[in-house]
């Protein structure tokens, strides 16, 4: 009798659809010991969510399952809904990605928590309520008594997720499954929650399965990492080994796709993976990764299969560092020779933002941007980073003309362009373009690629001759690595990465001077993100276009940007050259932000700054420093009353704080 909490053997999950039978989970075997925590990492389509739902016994009606899932020795597969009830929420609990939609909008928080203990542990209403309050306090939620009386819509996202976790822990389950629980949250909120989770795991003696696409997050809560690809486990092992010594080519490639501290565009390109994930038919065998693998040779298919390569480290293939096929990308990220860019000492700023404000609404106001001032140098990449509600997207929208500023000026090469799009002249429109977060929605689903790219040329670059236009479109498609066959395709026929490339081609087709990139890679898988970042970088070197790159992901900003601007609650808190901002932390918020970013390297764990409280209410104008009240280095009431002065560290590095150095 082993003491495995969970024992999955040869699990297969197939779905029958209009297009046939396809395989979501293929021959997966996984064992989880008591108190062990594992992280399952994979990109979209790898089957990680399907796997977790199989454990809970919650799959769609068109699913066909076979294999075995043993929980503490008992077979879960084949049990009816009624038979599974005593397990769910009680011995095995699950937390989902979106806390708001996971809570019933018509029931109070208290009710939704009480019912769990009342049902599973047969507690009375009073006892259940006491247990609920205790669980909420365990998650560091002060005012638990107030929360239980409220409805979900009256509570913010970070607190909602903590409530969902508390709900899962009420019956002290043996196994807790978390499916991307912090993906929808800000990085600082995420850091706090991850801390709570790892503490609780210890104190409650639970086993944990943490699913994510972000290896840094998994590093904070799990010891073992399981890498999934296209429905199969390709590698699993201790996190340090997976990071330092991956065996499977996919694992190695995946880790090298991830931007992190120290990985910058001047030194290296990001690793990418050619091709994209295709759905697997139900009866396909063999290596799922072979059509995309760099290390494929004639004999590897025959040797494919999970083997133990070192203690507790299993891999389906050990050719990650095989030498018979040379590496395209360096194993460790070795310095890359880059063409030196012509140092154009243009004094004139491309874009100058003066005292920019944006206020929404008439009766109930929202102060989105509260006076920002900065400049964008030509041919440079400015990264604007911040969490939700900081105003970065709004600022980007004002630059591109989608919103009209409430106050302030935007100067493009000394011309005031603080107008909305329908009032801007053609020249300005041609010069400032935009790339959006969601590539699927930024391309018109009813138009072909040719039309999508060509229209901009027709409208803004006056290329009216159809033949000439087509030739140019083909040229641009080549620049973004897409062939002629893409001309007549519609967006729904393209993968996410391809869609984003088309969007980039569209923006570039008219040779703008500035492109605002609004979280262009946030909706993409890690490997796709890497290829898009490489592309953006290459294009920037090629065409000398400038970028205003907006993101919440500091690792991405660190990779691509020359300058960084940190925003908080509608104001700039720090601005400077990338290296200076990232290494010599000056503003407390920047410090907190950087400490919260999860580390890809498991040996480099940092203690995040514990930020309490929440963002200030956007409906009110802020008097003093926007970060007052949450700042871990707050001086005193001066921070709340007076807006901090600018502390200028050099020509292009400054921040706003009362603390004197």
């Amino acid at each position: 009798m082993n003491d495995n909490i969970l024992d999955i053997q040869n699990l297969n999950v197939h779905f029958s659809t209009f297009d046939g039978l396809f395989s979501a989970v293929n021959n997966v075997s996984l064992a989880l010991k008591k108190n062990e925590s594992i992280g399952i990492i994979g990109e979209s389509g790898c089957g990680k969510s399907t796997l977790s739902f199989s454990i809970m016994g919650y799959l769609a009606k068109n699913a066909q399952v076979d294999g075995s899932i043993l929980f503490k020795g008992e077979e879960l597969l084949g049990k009816s809904e009624k038979e599974l009830e005593p397990y769910r929420g009680n011995r095995i609990a699950m937390v989902f990605q979106n806390p708001y939609s996971s809570l019933n909008p018509s029931l109070t928080i208290g009710f939704q928590l009480d019912e769990v203990s009342m049902h599973h542990q047969k507690l009375s209403k009073k006892e259940a309520r006491a247990a609920t309050l205790q669980a909420l306090e365990m998650m560091n939620l002060g005012d638990a008594k107030g929360i239980v009386r409220r409805y979900p819509h009256q509570i913010s996202g970070g607190i909602q997720q903590r409530i969902c976790i508390a709900m899962a822990l009420l019956c002290k389950p043996d196994l807790l499954i978390l499916d991307e629980p912090t993906t929808a949250l800000d990085v600082t909120t995420e850091a706090v929650i991850l801390e709570s989770i790892s503490k609780l795991k210890e104190s409650l003696n639970m086993s944990l399965i943490y699913i994510s696409h972000d290896i840094g997050v998994i590093n904070k809560v799990a010891q073992q990492i399981v890498v999934m690809y296209n429905g199969e486990i390709v590698e699993q092992g201790p996190k340090k080994e997976i990071f330092e010594n991956p065996k499977h080519p996919y694992t190695r490639a995946l880790i090298n796709c991830m931007p992190r501290g120290g990985v910058v565009k001047e030194k290296t390109k990001l690793n990418t993976i050619a091709g994209y994930v295709k759905r697997r038919g139900a009866n396909e065998g063999g290596c799922p990764f072979s059509d995309r693998c760099e290390k494929k040779n004639e004999v590897c298919e025959g040797q494919y299969g999970i083997k133990e390569v070192s203690p507790r480290h299993l891999a389906a293939c050990d050719r990650a560092y095989a030498t018979d096929i040379p590496d395209v990308f360096a194993a460790k990220l070795a310095p890359l020779k880059r063409q030196e860019r012509k140092q154009e000492e243009e004094q004139e700023n491309l874009l100058q933002i003066k005292d920019l404000h944006k206020v929404y609404g008439t009766r109930r106001k929202v102060y989105a941007v509260n006076g920002v001032e900065f400049a964008v140098k030509p041919h440079s990449v400015l990264g604007i980073v911040g969490e939700s509600g900081c105003g970065k997207s709004t600022t980007g929208h004002m630059i591109s003309g989608l919103y009209k500023p409430s106050k302030g000026n935007i100067l493009f090469r000394d011309t005031d362009i603080s107008l909305s799009w329908n009032k801007r002249d053609k020249e300005t429109l041609k010069n400032i373009q935009l790339i959006f977060q969601n590539p699927g929605r930024s391309l018109n689903p009813s138009h072909t690629v040719e039309r999508i790219i060509g229209r901009a040329m027709q409208k803004l670059a006056n290329i009216t001759d159809e033949k000439e236009r087509r030739a140019r479109i083909i040229e641009i498609l080549k620049k973004v690595d897409l062939g002629v066959e893409y001309l007549q395709k519609k967006p729904s026929q393209l993968s996410g990465g391809e869609q984003q490339r088309v969007a980039i081609a569209r923006a570039l087709s008219i040779s703008p001077s500035l492109i605002v990139c609004d979280e262009p890679t946030s909706a993409l898988d890690v490997s796709v993100q890497a290829s898009v970042l490489n592309l953006l970088n290459d294009l920037q070197i090629d065409t000398h276009v400038a970028y205003v790159f907006i993101s919440h992901d500091l690792n991405v900003i660190n990779y691509l940007c020359d300058y960084i601007m940190v925003m908080y609650a509608g104001k700039i808190v720090e601005y400077g050259k990338r290296d200076e901002v990232m290494e010599n932390l000056h503003h407390p918020y920047t410090e907190a932000l950087l400490s919260a970013v999860p580390e890809v390297d498991p040996t480099k764990q940092k203690k995040p700054v514990d930020l309490q409280g929440q963002l200030p209410d956007p409906a009110k104008k802020i008097q003093g420093c926007p970060f007052a009240g949450r700042c871990h280095k707050q001086l005193g009431s001066i921070c709340e009353k007076e807006f901090p002065p600018m502390v200028q560290l050099s020509d292009d590095h400054y921040y706003y704080c009362h603390i004197k150095k």
Partner: protein, 322 residues
Amino acid sequence: MNRSAQMMLRRLGSLIATLVVMSFIIFLLVEIMPGDVAQMILGQSATEEAVAALRQARGLDDPLLQRYGRWVKGVLVGDLGESVYMQGVAINSILWRRVGHSLVLAFTAFIMFVPLSIFLGVLAGVKEKKPADSVISFFGLATMALPEFVSGVILITIFAVQLNWFPIVSVIPIGQTLFQNLDILVLPALSITFVMFGYVSRMQRSSMIGVMNSDYIRSAILKGMPRKYVIFRHALKNALLPTITIIGMNMGWLFGGLIVVETLFGFPGMGSLLMTAIKTRDVPLIEACVLLITIIYSLSTMITDILYSYLNPRIRFQGGQR
């Protein structure tokens, strides 16, 4: 509760504004109707002078706005004028009894279709794609655009002509009241019920399916709550809420149906009165009936809105921090 008091006032205000505009439009439309009112009262053989004199006496030659003003003043004091066709009988004496009858008929139809549609709609949603759902869905689909007189005629043929369970014509014998003849309500109410059932049950079904597929129901199930409990305690509240709006929005069809059904069955209600008024070009009566229908309909819509705001926690308890 200051905010909701404000909302209430605003709604009331817009209701009144709507009524004013609507009444003016009705007045306008009716007044430009071809045919001389005075001529109709006096008959074909009347002399031109007599007609002109009558027009003068009734102020029919006055400017439009003045006539409108007079009418509104009358309405506000409860004087709806006199019927032309019925030779000067005060409208008030004939209208209100009919209104009462129609309300009873509407109420009967209401208590027939509301519980039935909701129950069957929920049932179909919960048992999606199973036989019960197929049957209920089909019925809903078939009846949702079925004119009330069509179902009425079929009902009459079966239940009145062949089986003789109910009277063919729904009239009240002179000297008796409605309440002494409740059987005349059944077939008319049933005819209206068919159409309303079609629409409401389908909406209820899709609302229920939507709720059952939501993330929060998934959470409830994966918390180990039993299925029946999940349906009744978690799903139902959320699925029923939109139905209130749907029923409110479809009151219009209910009123339209009343007219058709009253005409078919000869039921002495407001609808058949309006029919008569139109046929006989009885201008004041038309204006009065339409005005009344509009008021009742607008009121019912407003009540629906208020009910919805009260029952929806997201609206009732504001102060949502994001």
